[in-house]
């Protein structure tokens, strides 16, 4: 491992820390409400916006959609920005790489795109249900919550990682190699 790639995650992480502080400061100053990094509520609002196309009354009558407000907000713009920023950085740094199945998944479970799609879909559904129940994801609870020393952030992050370790080991332990 060369020196540059060794320090890379620490430097990028430190800059995310600065970004989190700057974001709360700027939104407090210019919009009156401090905004903390997060991502999972956007999936609720996006699902609500999609459902509104087919069943507007149903969305209007749903207690959770009413509570979280189905609209384009600061966090949804943040999530859109994440895709734009990551895509631009990947193109500029020539890191863009089309991949249909992750290499370590392929080594363990074969190269079927349908199998990978099915598991990613089911995993995503369970994870997002859990994130909304817990009240946040690794951004909202993990980063923003723990930065503020909130008890909920610490408990949720312990749950995220603890369950992740168990399931990842059930999936991969016998493969012996692969990984990073």
């Amino acid at each position: 491992m060369n020196n540059e790639s060794r320090w890379r995650p620490y430097i990028a992480g430190a800059l995310v820390g600065v970004l989190a502080i700057a974001s709360v400061w700027a939104t407090t100053k210019y919009s009156g409400k401090g905004q903390y990094l997060g991502a999972s509520t956007t999936f609720v609002r996006a699902a609500g916006l999609a459902e509104e196309k087919v069943a507007p009354e149903h969305v209007a009558g749903n207690a959770y959609y009413t509570k979280e407000k189905v609209k384009v907000d600061w966090q949804m713009m943040l999530v859109i920005g994440v895709a734009l920023g990551a895509g631009a950085a990947a193109l500029v740094r020539k890191d863009f790489k089309a991949e249909m199945v992750p290499p370590i998944w392929k080594e363990r479970f074969g190269s079927s795109m349908a199998l990978r799609a099915l598991f990613a879909f089911l995993g995503g559904a369970v994870a997002m249900f859990g994130a909304r129940l817990a009240g946040g994801c690794p951004s909202g609870h993990g980063l923003s919550g723990i930065m503020q020393l909130s008890v909920s952030g610490l408990i949720a992050m312990a749950g995220f990682f603890g369950a992740g370790v168990i399931v990842a080991n059930l999936l991969y332990r016998k493969s012996g190699k692969g990984g990073a």
Binding site: S31, Y65, L78, M113, A120, A125, A127, I146, L149, G164
Partner: protein, 176 residues
């Protein structure tokens, strides 16, 4: 578009660049941490938390900003946390990194994103019944670690920094 929305977009673009450059929006890195083979995502997250906790508490102390603490509900935090962790290990992304992964060419992240949208809609449907039970189990309100320990936040921050630096030393020694 309002100033708030522009700030969201700008912050997101920088966040996306840093997620991409930090190499964390990758299935191998996310699952690698759960297998203790590659702790990249923890180096990234814990450094961000370390810097963020100092800056946010300084700004809050001088009343430039106010903190926004999410409530602690043990039942919801623990059960939701475990469900998230199980799904996270299988899809290999978290909500924020899934978009960054898709944008850097990991097209399989689209299935995870679609699944997460369905999961969010399913949660909205079950919310009225959860509200009566799991979402009330062990409700302690907006508590913080220094609050329940009755100590200065700076003491807790110092403790976390020492702990995180210790973890970094272990990661570097083991080469993970």
């Amino acid at each position: 578009m309002t100033t708030e929305l522009w700030l969201g977009l700008g912050t997101g673009i920088i966040f996306g660049i840093l997620l991409q450059q930090g190499r964390v929006a990758r299935y191998e890195k996310q699952v690698g941490a759960m297998l203790f083979r590659d702790m990249t995502i923890f180096k990234f997250m814990l450094t961000a938390i370390m810097v963020g906790m100092v800056g946010l508490h300084l700004l809050a102390q001088y009343e430039v900003i106010s903190l926004s603490i999410k409530g602690t509900v043990l039942g919801a935090n623990i059960i939701g946390g475990i469900l998230f962790g199980m799904g996270w290990a299988v899809m290999g992304y978290c909500p924020g990194t899934s978009l960054a992964a898709l944008a850097e060419g990991r097209f399989h992240a689209i299935w995870a994103i679609l699944g997460m949208l369905v999961g969010a809609a399913a949660y909205a449907e079950t919310y009225p019944s959860l509200k009566e039970n799991i979402l009330t189990w062990g409700d302690y309100g907006k508590i913080t670690l220094p609050g329940i320990l009755e100590v200065s936040p700076w003491l807790v921050i110092a403790g976390f920094i020492v702990g995180f630096l210790g973890l970094f030393a272990i990661f570097e020694k083991k080469g993970v």
